[in-house]
Symmetry: C2
Subunit: 182 residues, 2 copies
DNA sequence: GCTGAAGACTTAGAAGCTAAAATTCGAAGG
DNA sequence: CCTTCGAATTTTAGCTTCTAAGTCTTCAGC
């Protein structure tokens, strides 16, 4: 069923053996995939977390930067919009924006054409931080996949998207926000 | 660089296109793997979270149950040990154990042979909850992997463990505790 | 018997989140 | 023109879970 965390961790093989000992019905092949996937993801998140921390931004900031950049130029969204994309309540968004404004990553201003609305816009510094984080991330990712041939990579991408389609179909847009950093 | 969360989420393809638009140096093949992996993991965590919630236990409880079960019969560990395995401070462990004792999932008693130590022991109910969660999880996992042939499964397990070995070697036992539910 | 170290617990405080109330503005109807 | 409703945001209060630092208890060596 995957993995948990941290130091003093058993190896993948040890853990699967323990699972089999405690739960007879376990398919070790399935468990291997699921546990490896989970561990891999955690390690990646640790790496990303370090990189963004090195840039002086937190994981919560990172999520907002990403949403704004992916929305495309001119990199503007309302708090409500952002909240929807990130799966948060509007109140939580207000707090994040407060922090990020003081950090200089975004600006907040009222929309002059409809003064109920607020516009959150990426600053040049915010965009630069995002780009820098992406540069670090791609180095890490390239290193991670270093041993895989182009064919291996294609095959892996295919399998994973196949699995993803399956979950997304079964669990259409869950909206859950159970951790995830990238 | 992976994915974030929730509702109103773009499709994987849309997101990769947006990344390429905003960051020219991106290798779409790499990004596809990384993003699919991240999304897949998040969906799995959402599913696990629902299942454990349905059993009336939280994600934090689940981690402790798992550590105890995996330690093997008689399912006893000290708070300090548990804290190390879960990557928490001892203080955080104290709070978790408090809660879980009132929930009837574990018992806490002093070790009579060395009264400085405390022994946390899984109750029958705690063990039963763990087993039930595992049953639900395996159903979900089997469904997830349904379309993969045994050969596909073996291949996927191999590739993932290969990647995992690579990260674990580069990042030996980071101890990080940046989210993860399983 | 005293002292030091180890282990667990307590307290204080930080980071994030939610829910619900308050605020502000625009739009529609009398 | 004024009023009222509704939408979007912010404020307030409180929850959960974590860390850091200090305290208490107990064992072990001198």
């Amino acid at each position: 069923m995957g993995d948990t965390s941290g130091a003093g961790e058993p190896t993948l093989e040890e853990q699967i053996a323990a699972y089999q000992r405690e739960f007879q019905d376990l398919d070790p092949q399935v468990e291997k995939i699921v546990s490896a996937l989970s561990r891999l993801n955690r390690r990646m998140n640790v790496a990303y977390g370090r990189q963004t921390a090195a840039l002086g931004i937190g994981n919560t900031d990172w999520e907002v930067l990403k949403a704004l950049v992916l929305s495309g130029a001119p990199y503007r969204l309302g708090p409500g919009d952002l909240a929807k994309r990130l799966g948060l309540t509007p109140a939580a968004m207000t707090h994040r924006i407060d922090r990020m404004v003081t950090e200089g990553l975004v600006t907040r201003e009222r929309d002059e054409s409809n003064r109920v609305r607020v516009i959150v816009e990426l600053t040049a510094e915010g965009r630069e931080k995002w780009l820098e984080a992406m540069r670090l991330a791609t180095v890490f990712e390239e290193d991670l996949l270093q041993d895989l041939s182009p064919e291996d990579r294609t095959a892996l991408g295919e399998v994973l998207t196949r699995l993803l389609r399956r979950v997304e179909h079964a669990q259409p847009d869950a909206g859950g926000r159970l951790s995830d950093l990238d």
